[in-house]
Symmetry: C2
Subunit: 467 residues, 2 copies
């Protein structure tokens, strides 16, 4: 591991000179929130030495150039909604708070692009687009995440089945390299074959190669009509078995979510609101959209019939905005609902081929029985991305550590054997590095490390993450 | 420039041992075709020293490992349909002919993927998918190109407006590194956030980082109905001005091609077949698809009305397969048609924001007048990707070289000023390196070179290309 320098008085003077007095916090002035993300165990919290709030690329540039010269570790931070400690300053040093760089800078109607700063929230970007009758499709469960974070992890979310992931909606990036140089990658262009795609390399690199200071997003026409179908099944496996059948037809659903009854109950409890139904063991939640009510009606009749043919108990159709909001806000609260069920937990964000979800869930069930740990899960079933949560409950620390590692290792091994990957959308961060190396192999990780050295020879940018 | 070793007798023995007697050709045994691509000027042809036909990844692996040890340059070759000398062995050495690795290996209906070898032709992949009522959308003008080449240049083609480019349809790759190691990148998964996207780095890297030996492609449902609209406009600029207006509506056309009357005439002459109309100065050719005839009819009525509002002279609708094939095969013959008009030519494959195509074409017109060179063009107008051809005709070599460089430089400079890129889909290859450096900037190119060294420390793989 590289040795970094501690931040000293004269460093703080420099940060203050660049960003202004009120934007540089040290020691106890820094809120404890900046020492963790949404899933950091108590025992692993690490505070940055200094927290600097930046509001323009030029400041980021000056700070990174300085940090490279002085060998000070730098951790970029958006909303801190990650789950793998990607935005925690595990080596201390300087944390760059980008949340104030939250401008929505330009809507370009002719090129159908939206230029934003990295701190802009997903919910605000989506609302802004919709107010202009346009659509930004990526919809992670955590709508209060920042676009910078979503780009850094190539977040996918619920609408990836039809619309794809964040990568598919990033036309261009402005990034600051660890040397302080500012690069424009891509642009308002729909095609590009002009050398290696540095833009695609930055997307998903979790802030370890460069810091995104601007993004040009692609928008699409806003679908006029959306309908959701909540479909109860007698058990988890019969619900999951229906998924590839639903996706083989001519109708491409926007979303196909899988959820278990007790996770719904947990979300109801967390929100204090009722879901339309929670009596079944398992559900699929589908969403369809289209240009007219007639189109979507025809589609959902067809999909509903297919659901019933695949063993569904019933099909509840939600075609008003209000009812859909109720369902999807409950869906958005699953993570919080599960967190509220237990004392501490860790998650596994694997993605597997759609045809292999059943096998993966069978393994999960077997592990739950063997380990005596509670395991809860929900899944973006339409794209094979599962979120599996292992709950600590009241188990003692030593047993928990041991059992957790056994279960996690078994889950990741199973995913790899099924042709899956360690992370579908949450990234590797600090927590999943061991599993990345096992899954991707030593050679792929060594190429990643080589690329890291090309961008960041001093290793100052988000050290200890990914590879 | 690095110094390479010439191939000697014992090297040839090794190649023969790995690939078999009939698969190793030397000197005059090698057809002259392997010394050029579709646009290599006579004066720039370079023959490889040895041409080896491979038929499995394991052979590629052994040859690359050997070539790295012996410092022998290796040029991968598919169908040789490129336009920038990406598949020409500019340093001599070993050429790997991958065209016999053309298997379509597996259709996976549950995961909607098609696994193919790199030599499989785009036309065969598309036909195979359609025979199974599925659809592989990327449709470059050159349908006899290989998928390996399309992946290497991130080819886009005509249907990118609605469906995106090759990158969007590559789920996984098997690649052989210059060291001989074989890596599996991505897979049958729809999301991935597991370290840097090496897969996306390989896509568009023009065979300079690794050789693709297998690809897992994503397929989508086959649209039941497709219609094409040929729309004459009084002049080029009024046709182009209509494009952003057409794209701002709720209907996303599959393709929006721009063409000039005399390019159509040239294609007619080349094919010996008539186009439905060639009397106007300029045309848009639109394609629409959908799940039913009714849906598409409603869409094209709306689009046709918009065309007439934007100054179109008429709208010819082609709704039979036969008439559409006639139009699109003529469209596919544009490049050959223009080639047949002149003695020699060079092309410029810029991509600009859609809103800037008019300005770019105005510059092209001005340059044509100033330079006294004939310039012909057509464009994937719906995605801003223009193909501009500068014709030598009967100009003497010295004047041609000088004028060509002036015009090319001016075109690329204009594209850059408009926020465009050097290449939309044909790549950089050997011919456009100067313009890549000018456009992307020294720092971006130096990062690319750093990445190149990580993958290929001895620089043996497709040397002299891209960066």
């Amino acid at each position: 591991m590289r040795s970094f320098n501690k931040i000293e008085e004269n460093d703080i003077s420099f940060f203050t000179q660049v960003c202004g007095e009120g934007n540089v916090l040290i020691g106890d002035e820094i809120s404890e929130d900046f020492g963790r993300d949404e899933m950091t165990p108590e025992s692993m919290r690490v505070m940055p030495e200094v927290l600097v709030t930046v509001d323009q690329a030029n400041q980021v540039s000056r700070l990174l150039e300085y940090a490279t010269q002085k060998r000070i570790p730098v951790t970029p931070r958006g909303q801190g909604t990650g789950l793998v400690m990607g935005s925690v300053a595990v080596h201390g040093g300087l944390m760059l708070d980008l949340s104030k760089m939250d401008g929505i800078l330009e809507l370009d109607r002719e090129n159908l692009t939206l230029t934003v700063e990295p701190g802009a929230l997903i919910m605000d970007i989506r609302a802004f687009a919709e107010a202009h009758d346009l659509f930004y499709p990526p919809m992670p469960g955590e709508q209060s995440a920042s676009i910078g974070g979503n780009i850094s992890t190539n977040a996918g979310g619920m609408k990836a089945v039809k619309y794809g992931v964040t990568r598919d909606y990033v036309r261009g990036l402005e990034v600051v390299l660890p040397t302080g140089e500012i690069l424009q990658l891509g642009g308002k262009v729909a095609k590009n074959s002009s050398g290696y795609s540095l833009k695609d390399l930055i997307i998903g690199s979790e802030g370890t190669l460069a810091i995104v200071t601007k993004a040009i997003l692609r928008l699409v026409p806003n679908p006029a009509c959306t309908v959701s179908l909540l479909v109860p099944y007698p058990d988890a496996l019969s619900a999951i078995r229906a998924v590839p059948i639903l996706l083989q037809g001519k109708i491409m659903p926007v979303a196909v979510e899988f959820m278990e009854g007790d996770v719904i109950v947990a979300a109801e409890r967390y929100l204090g609101k009722k879901f339309p139904d929670h009596s079944a063991e398992a559900y699929l939640l589908l969403s369809l959209d289209g240009r007219s009510k007639d189109d979507v009606e025809r589609d959902y009749e067809h999909i509903a019939t297919t659901c019933l043919h695949t063993g569904a108990i019933d099909v509840f159709i939600s075609d008003t905005q209000e009812r859909q909001d109720a369902i999807w806000s409950a869906r958005g609260a699953f993570l919080e609902g599960i967190k509220a069920m237990t004392t501490e937990m860790d998650e596994c964000d694997v993605v597997v081929p759609i045809s292999k979800i059943v096998e993966f869930l069978e393994e999960k069930q077997a592990l739950e029985q063997q380990s005596s740990l509670r395991i809860r899960s929900f899944a973006h079933a339409g794209d094979g991305n599962l979120h599996v949560y292992i709950l600590k409950d009241d188990i003692d620390d030593a047993t928990w550590e041991k059992q957790l590692h056994l279960v996690m290792s078994a889950l990741y091994r199973k995913a790899r054997d099924l042709g899956g990957k360690v992370s579908g959308e949450h990234g590797i961060g600090f927590m999943k590095r061991e599993f990345l190396e096992q899954s991707a192999g030593a050679k792929a990780v060594s190429l990643m490390r080589g690329i890291k050295r090309v961008f960041d020879p001093e290793g100052i940018l988000n050290p200890g993450k990914v590879c």
